[in-house]
């Protein structure tokens, strides 16, 4: 089942008096449960495409649909709800809330919904996720007391806590050493298998690209390769 579809998507940025064409007519579909890597060198348009899929940026031309909804047609409130209900985010710089501890950071998206789950249910689910990402003992620690790898694990748990259909990870390993980076990708892969969540991650590191079962290779805002590594 197609969950995300991009049709002839362009993105132009003004840069001084000129315009930068970051994405030049990109089209592809993403199936539910996929583990996708959007790969390419710096400046190839990976982050821009992820931002448009994540509804935090809009295409200059073309259509981005999520579950058959054209995201350009939505108002801010609807887009915010869509981001909360359908999407999860993992950032390159982890982007945890510094004043909240590990448990509270993971819980944070759950409390933003219209009908948050009861406290007991929330606690049980968050504890389970913390065990899954290997942070069971770090519940009350603040982000600044954690290593980069641990912070990214918190971010993964936070992205999954609302049980989203899709998780977007923008260069999740860029700020980690290669070993930790590989373990983070492994963890994401495990979550993808366990919960059936669609994972889309961008990377410029060729060594982790092939872990994905669907690779979209970009160069200068164009797709140069769109292949499935597994059936």
């Amino acid at each position: 089942m197609t969950v995300i579809s991009l049709k002839d998507v362009h993105k132009n940025y003004p840069l001084g008096k000129t315009e930068v064409h970051a994405v030049k007519g990109v089209s592809f579909d993403i199936e539910s449960g996929d583990f996708i890597s959007i790969a390419g060198p710096s400046g190839s348009g990976k982050s821009t495409i992820l931002n448009m899929i994540g509804c935090i940026d809009t295409p200059s031309e073309g259509i981005v649909t999520i579950n058959d909804t054209n995201t350009s047609d939505l108002k801010d409130k609807e887009i915010t709800n869509l981001r909360h209900d359908v999407l999860g985010f993992i950032f390159q710089n982890f982007n945890l809330i510094p004043v909240l501890n590990v448990f509270e950071n993971i819980e944070f998206p759950m409390l933003l919904g219209k009908n948050p789950a009861p406290k007991d249910e929330r606690e049980e689910w968050i504890s389970h996720l913390m065990e899954e990402v290997g942070l069971g003992e770090w519940k009350t620690h603040k982000p600044n007391e954690l290593s980069g790898g641990q912070r990214q694990r918190v971010a993964i748990a936070r992205a999954l806590v609302t049980k989203p259909q899709i998780v977007l990870a923008d260069e999740p390993t860029a700020n980690l050493d290669s070993e930790t980076g590989a373990s983070i990708i492994e963890l994401m892969k495990k979550m993808n298998k366990e919960y059936g969540t669609t994972f889309i991650f961008s990377t410029h590191d060729q060594t982790i690209v092939d872990i994905a079962d669907h690779v979209i290779q970009l160069k200068d805002g164009n797709i140069i390769e769109n292949r499935r590594t597994q059936a």
Binding site: D76, N81, F89, I97, V99
Partner: protein, 445 residues
């Protein structure tokens, strides 16, 4: 709850900055509440002191014209007065009658000074007895004819001690000279606070005899009301009833005419206030209330309150400018965080609320600190005993300054502060809420 928790914790992120801002708010709150408590306490002290010294809240003075054309202060015709009193009986707690020597010369040995002497019916003036602060001697035998209570300042000037005799030279109601012998029963501390009065007290029967009044005659009828707030209503009723049969002068009329006569009568005493141009029949009544007497004090209090409010507003404006700048900095410092929160599903309104709540909490912490500081200052200052000749003498209650902090005024100040804070921080909060998510996430911080 989440928003509230984040806002609260955000305050602690820049402790020094929050402390300085909160401190500025606390200082403003401290100033306005302390001055407010002081003026309220001062007004109340003055009211209490006047009420006890003058024996009530409404003062009715009688004046009559004798056949000789001479004017005397006496309430001779009590029939009209009694009818008028009936109309306010439900509001009155106690009636006190008094006669008075406006300016007497008190003599002890070779020394003398002036003193106003009030004739008191001691059996009925328990309130006055309770209020008098005895420095030496006692009021045990005060009902003995000729017993006199004098202020400490007078006693010091004359070098007299309780048990000794003094002479008082005075005018009778008909203007003749007379001298009476008195025994100093007690020396009181407080009355010299009212240095413009320097009041002494003696039994009314004895004083009446000396100034030429019958034992049952009196010059003033003072009404002590159950509820001080009903003072003007009671005075109005009295005037309405008395006007049916007698000539009446009131404090208000006097003020309108700019003659300030009622105050003169009570504080300076004498006939000067009542026009002697036209003789009249029967008793002419002059009705003065505590409010009339307090008018200049209340004006002073109002000026003090306005000054403190202006000071508060200026301090708050400076603080609000600080708050606006701080939250503009906060906006820059937390742009990425705002982007993250928006990306994971927080609505614009919640971002705005985090900013507004953070500012509000900061203001409320400052307010609580200011209130506590003000309370401690007023409690400590209230414990200090000032000397009776201190410039604050007029405002002392048993030698101490009285502070009254009404919860209403505190709430009003806190509400005002909260509104100003929310208005000041609204623009940075709105700007934060309107940030584009993608731009916010790209920010350096």
């Amino acid at each position: 709850m989440n928003i509230s928790k984040i806002s609260m914790r955000n305050i602690t992120r820049q402790k020094k900055r929050s402390f300085l801002l909160g401190g500025a708010i606390a200082f403003g709150i401290f100033i306005i509440i302390t001055i407010g408590s002081f003026t309220a306490g001062m007004t109340e002290t003055l009211k209490e002191n006047f009420t006890s010294i003058m024996g009530g809240h409404i003062y009715i003075l009688g004046t009559e014209t004798l056949e000789s054309g001479r004017i005397v202060q006496v309430i001779g015709d009590t029939e009209d007065l009694e009818r008028a009193i009936d109309t306010v009986d439900d509001l009155v707690e106690e009636y006190h009658v008094r006669s008075q020597v406006r300016i007497g010369e008190i003599i002890y040995g070779s020394k003398s000074t002036t003193l106003q002497v009030s004739g008191i019916d001691w059996k009925k003036e328990q309130l006055l007895k309770d209020t008098l602060s005895i420095a030496e001697g006692s009021l045990d035998n005060i009902e003995t004819a000729g017993s006199l209570v004098i202020p400490e300042k007078i006693a010091e000037k004359l070098g007299v001690i309780p048990g000794e005799s003094v002479l008082i030279r005075m005018d009778t109601v008909t203007g003749q000279k007379n001298v009476g012998e008195f025994t100093v029963a007690a020396i009181i501390q407080e009355q010299d606070s009212f240095s413009f009065i320097s009041a002494g007290y003696t039994g009314m029967d004895y004083l009446n005899e000396l100034i030429g009044l019958e034992p049952d005659e009196y010059q003033y009828l003072n009404l002590h009301l159950e509820d001080i707030e009903k003072m003007d209503i009671a005075a109005e009723r009295l005037v309405t009833e008395l006007e049916k049969t007698s000539l009446v002068e009131t404090g208000e009329e006097d003020e309108e005419e700019g003659k300030d006569r009622s105050h003169g009568m009570m504080l300076r005493g004498g006939m000067s206030g009542i026009s002697a141009d036209e003789p009249w029949e029967g008793t002419k009544f002059s009705i003065t209330t505590l409010n009339d007497i307090m008018e200049p004090v209340l004006q002073l209090v109002n000026i003090l309150n306005i000054v403190s409010l202006a000071l508060f507003v200026i301090l708050m404006i400076i603080t609000m400018v600080g708050l606006i700048n701080t939250f503009r900095m906060v906006l820059i410092e937390r742009t990425k965080e705002i982007g993250t929160m928006r990306a994971i599903g927080m609505h614009r309104g919640s971002i705005r609320s985090i900013f507004l709540l953070e500012a509000l909490y900061l203001a409320l912490f400052g307010a609580v600190a200011g209130i506590l500081l003000s309370f401690s200052t007023t409690i400590i200052t209230g414990l200090i005993r000032f000397t009776s000749d201190s410039p604050l003498g007029l405002f002392l209650h048993n030698g101490r300054l009285q502070f009254i902090t009404s919860p209403g005024s505190v709430i009003k100040v806190v509400v005002m502060l909260s509104i100003m804070t929310l208005v000041a921080v609204y623009l940075p909060a709105r700007k934060a809420a309107k940030l584009k998510v993608v731009d916010a996430l790209r920010a350096q911080y």
